[in-house]
Each structure stands twice: as C-alpha cells, then as structure tokens.
C-alpha cells in the first residue's frame, strides 16, 4: 500500500471504495505517522486500539455494502469535542484526567458514517488563544517552521493535517480559531454558519459564537465531510432546522466550482494592509479571469469588532466556566478546608493564565455598574456589525478578505501582551459575531510561510463559499504546497 503523505480525503475515499486498501491499513499508516512526528505536539491523545477497532468496523460496514463516501477515513478531533470513553481535556489541567461519558453530536455523527477517530488534537486551553501556546499540554509547532505558532485555538488540528498526520481534522471557531490556524498552516479551513453544526458535546467557550468546523487540504474535502457532521440536532437549542439540498447532495456528488458570482472587497479590511495585500490581490485577479466580478463594499463598524468580541466572548466564557468547581468532575485541589477554599484553589490551579484573564474580563463586563457600558454596548455593536454584512450581501454574493494580518509568528512573540495577541483576530472576528459561514483558503506565501484568504458568505450560504473556494483551487495550486520534512 502506498499512500501519499498529503493525500486528500477525496482521493483516499476513492481508493478505499476501489478496495486499494482497507481502512485498517490506512489507519495504521496514519497512526504510524502520528507516532513519528510527536515533536509537533499536535496530539494530546492518540488511542491506537480505539482507532483500529473503529477502522475494522468501517471495513465491516463497507463489506456489508453500507459504506458512506467517508467510511474508513481516519481523522483527528479537536480535544474540545467529548468522546465517550476517551480523554477530553480541552487543553486544560482542569480536565486533564476527564474521560467524557458521552459523545458530542459531531463525534457521534461522523462515527456513525464510518469516520475513524485517530485521537484528540491539542488546542489552546478552553479554545482561548490565537497561537496554541495556552495549552496545559504544551505549545504546538507549525510544520512549516517549527519555531512558529500554528495559530489557535485549533492549532493541533491545523498542525497535524498540515504535517500529513491525518487527512482532515475537526476544529472549533469562536473568533477565528479554525480560519486563522488554517491560514498559518496552509490549509483550507471552514467555520460554517452558526447553528449549522451542533454544539452538543462541544465544550463551550462562548456559546453564541462557538461553531464546529473542519480542516482539510481542499474545499472539496470539506464539502465531502461536512454533510456527515452538520445538521439539525434536537439537543442543541441553537442548532438550525435549516435543511439544504446542496449539502445533502455533497454526500453523493463532488463539489462543483461556482461561476459568475459577485464578490465584495470590504475596504476596511484592505486599508493599510501589509503582507497579505499582494497575495489577496493576485487571488482577485485569478477569480476575475474566471468570470467572477468584484466590487468594493464597506463594513463601517469593523473597527469595533475586536472590542465587542472580547466583551461578549469573555462574558459568556466567564459563566460557561463556572461549572468547573471541583465538585462533580475535573481538577480538585488537595485537602480543601472549606467550600470557598475548594472553589478557589481548584479553579486557580486548574485554569491557566489566559483563561483566568478572560473569566475576569467577562466578570467585569457583566458586573453591577458595568453591564450597560460593556456587555450591552457590545451587543449593540454586534448588531451594527451584522447589519453591515447584511447590507453588503444585498449587493454581492460573497466577501473576499485576508484571513490574518500576517503570517504565523514566532513562539513567544506576543506572550506578554494579550492586547496585541487579540488584534490577530481582526479579520475573522466580524464574521463570528455575525454568525456567517467563512472559509480560509491558501493564497500564497510570504518568506516561506503560507498566507490565507477568507471567503465570507451570507447565513447558510456554505454552498457558494465552498464552491468559490473550489473554483479558486482549480485555478491555483497554493493548497497543493506542503511543508518539507514530513
């Protein structure tokens, strides 16, 4: 059996279907790679026995003629998704020993389609971070340059797919946590519309922003996996009952490229844009040559997105993380003297610095006397930002922006400066606040490091977002570039 290091899911699926190799063989291949490149620190948990037994089950499914198009494909799950019987740490000491007693809907759905779980990917603690330096299990390396960060918070997922340790991985995106690491690692990464993918069993960071999504090498791969992961879930009140014939068709047909759409270029994203400007401009020209039309649009409230985001996400996180109290699960301090002592020490020992910072920011924003000035103000700005997008989408089908202001930075570059770190999310946060689907697509390099561009669509317009990415990936080869040494 020969498997190319950076095989696409689409390719592997076809070869599994053709019987070129079994899922068990393929799974062994990736397990071996995962064990060979532990220096990236991309996995928190690799469960070989579980992966192999799932692979056998996938092969049996195929033998019975019940395989889906993704049956037997091994992937990694971000360690924010609950996996029954398997460690689910969220990158935190707080859950360092916690074995989830149930499967997240995403895990259950992919599993029942025959997708194999290789293990759990490293991440910023409780998905809070833009560099994956906030993990209790250590920082993750970027395969393109290992002294660089892979981005965050889904840094482990991005790193391991970029290094060919799995053909795809799940991630979650609250303010850019899929798109930014996808850009930093030269991958295609998608955050679907808020409500498209169930949040049940996805450990919450900021409930009104969190959305599960995928990393892969191509838009076509994402379109192949997404229907087996997305869809209405009665266990999640915020899950959308929207059905989508196109998404359903992705189970059967390859992704067709979009044609002739009108794409907006929000001027606020390009004002003074440095490193990515040339690459995004080249992408525009490529798409233009294929018949896409471009037009400048304005999203005037963009500058307020980062402040509003850090208030809303902090507020929601501050109370989402109150359940970690050392009583029913998770870390408990030694010999608590009193209830308050139990709470204070368990939480202070269990949470890392960034998590504490966000809890306190959120507590501040919600506390008496500050609620109106911060939380409520942020929610009003959130509406203004969403209205900006809705107005723009009256004129254009999609928006094209850079994904990040720069390429992956070095470990430790912003370690002492949370505010500068937060600014890294400037281009991804507005779509999160608005609940819009967005994909980051590789669009070039700067000093040997990948750059990403972002396509944002209206609510539930994943079809146009992915099909435009597909059109672009048929025109260019940036997504076929891979780091060396793997």
């Amino acid at each position: 059996m020969t498997v190319e290091t950076f095989s696409s899911v689409t390719d592997l699926a076809a070869r599994l279907e053709a019987g070129e190799f079994s899922s068990e063989e393929l799974t062994r291949h990736y397990l071996k790679r995962a064990h060979s490149f532990t220096g990236l620190n991309a996995f928190i948990t690799i469960d070989e026995d579980r992966a192999l037994s799932e692979a056998e089950a996938a092969d049996a499914l195929r033998a019975r003629g019940e395989a889906t198009r993704v049956t037997g494909i091994p992937i990694a799950h971000k360690d924010v998704f609950c996996t029954k019987g398997l460690l689910t740490t969220c990158g935190s000491k707080m859950l360092g020993n916690w074995v989830a007693p149930y499967d997240a809907t995403v895990v259950a759905r992919l599993g029942s389609a025959g997708v194999v779980t290789l293990g759990k990917a490293n991440m910023d603690e409780f998905a809070m971070g833009s560099s994956n330096e906030n993990s209790h299990f250590g920082a993750v390396a970027n395969p393109w340059e290992t002294d660089r960060v892979p981005g965050g918070s889904s840094g482990g997922s991005a790193s391991l797919v970029a290094a060919g340790l799995a053909p795809a991985a799940t991630g979650t995106d609250t303010g850019g946590s899929i798109r930014q690491p996808a850009a930093f690692c030269g991958l295609t990464g998608m955050k679907p519309t808020y409500g498209r993918v169930s949040r049940y069993g996805m450990v919450a960071f900021a409930s009104s922003l969190d959305q599960g999504g995928l990393f892969a090498h191509t838009a076509a791969d994402i379109a192949l996996l997404l229907p087996y992961m997305a869809g209405f879930d009665p266990k999640d009140s915020t899950s959308s009952p929207t059905t989508d014939d196109w998404l359903d068709a992705c189970r059967r047909e390859p992704l067709a490229p979009a044609e002739g759409l009108t794409i907006g270029l929000p001027k606020e994203y390009f004002d003074g844009l440095g490193v990515p400007a040339a690459a995004v401009d080249a992408a525009r020209r490529a798409l233009e040559s294929a018949g896409f039309r471009f037009r400048e649009v304005s999203l005037p409230h963009t500058a307020a997105a980062i402040p509003a985001y850090y208030i809303i996400a902090g507020a929601e996180a501050s109370t989402n993380l109150s359940r970690y109290d050392g009583v029913r699960f998770g870390h408990r301090c030694g010999n608590p003297e009193s209830l308050d002592d139990l709470y204070e020490r368990s939480r202070s020992e269990g949470f890392g610095t960034e998590v504490k910072r966000r809890i306190l920011t959120g507590t501040y924003a919600l506390s008496v006397g500050y609620f109106d000035a911060y939380y409520l103000k942020a929610q009003k700005i959130r509406r203004l930002i969403q209205e900006d997008f809705l107005a723009a989408f009256a004129d254009v089908d999609l928006l094209l922006t850079p994904t990040t202001p720069n390429v992956a930075f070095e470990h430790g570059a912003h370690a002492d400066d949370p505010v500068t770190m937060y600014q890294q999310d400037i281009f991804t946060v507005p779509a999160s606040l608005s609940g819009l689907p967005a994909v980051s697509v590789p669009c070039g390099f700067h000093e040997g490091l990948p750059l990403g561009m972002q396509l944002i669509g209206p609510h539930f317009a994943e079809q146009n977002v992915l099909r435009t990415a597909e059109a672009y990936q048929r025109l260019t080869g940036w997504h076929l570039e891979h780091p060396e040494g793997f």
């Binding site: 939480r347 610095t353 937060y422």
Partner: protein, 93 residues
C-alpha cells in the same frame, strides 16, 4: 472607566491569586479594558442589542423522559462521592 477592583472580581469568579499574580492580571485587565473602551466612541443610540447571531425564536422539546441515568458512569470522574452523593467540605447553613 478602567477602575478595576481585582479583589471583587476574583471573589465573584472564585479565583485565588497571589499578590504578584493579582497585580499582573490587574495590569492586563486594565490594558484590555482600555482597548475595549474604543467601543464607547461608537454611536449605538436606538440600536437593539443582538444576543444571538441568528436572532430567532426558541424551539421547544416535548415533555418526555428520554434520559436513562447511569450514575456510576457519570460519577466515574468525580473527585469525591459516597453513597451516590457528591461530597464537598461541610457547608454551614
């Protein structure tokens, strides 16, 4: 606006910070709040707050018992239990 009472916040959040940590975190918070205060310049008069990106109504669930409770499984990860109860230091009421 950045008049941060770090002791009040840590008490509300049940976090215990050393003097050094508290000072560092208070400094970080002050910078974060300064950054966030850019919002204050924006006119939001008459704007309805948006709590949720899809801005739709709740979907309700039928009143049915659907959960089978496996106490042993759920308590497997609990720090301290006895006779099916979770234990904490004695709470005086």
């Amino acid at each position: 606006m950045s008049d941060i009472d770090i002791r009040h916040l840590t008490a509300l959040a049940q976090l215990k910070l050393s003097e050094v940590e508290a000072e560092a975190v208070a400094g970080d918070l002050a910078r974060i709040i300064d950054m966030v205060d850019q919002m204050q310049a924006m006119d939001t008069e008459g704007v309805r707050p948006l709590a949720h990106p899809l801005d739709t109504a709740a979907r309700l669930r039928p009143d049915e018992v659907t959960e089978i409770v496996d106490r042993d499984l759920y308590q497997a990860g609990a720090p301290e239990t006895e006779d099916g109860l979770y234990l904490v230091p004695r709470v005086v009421e």
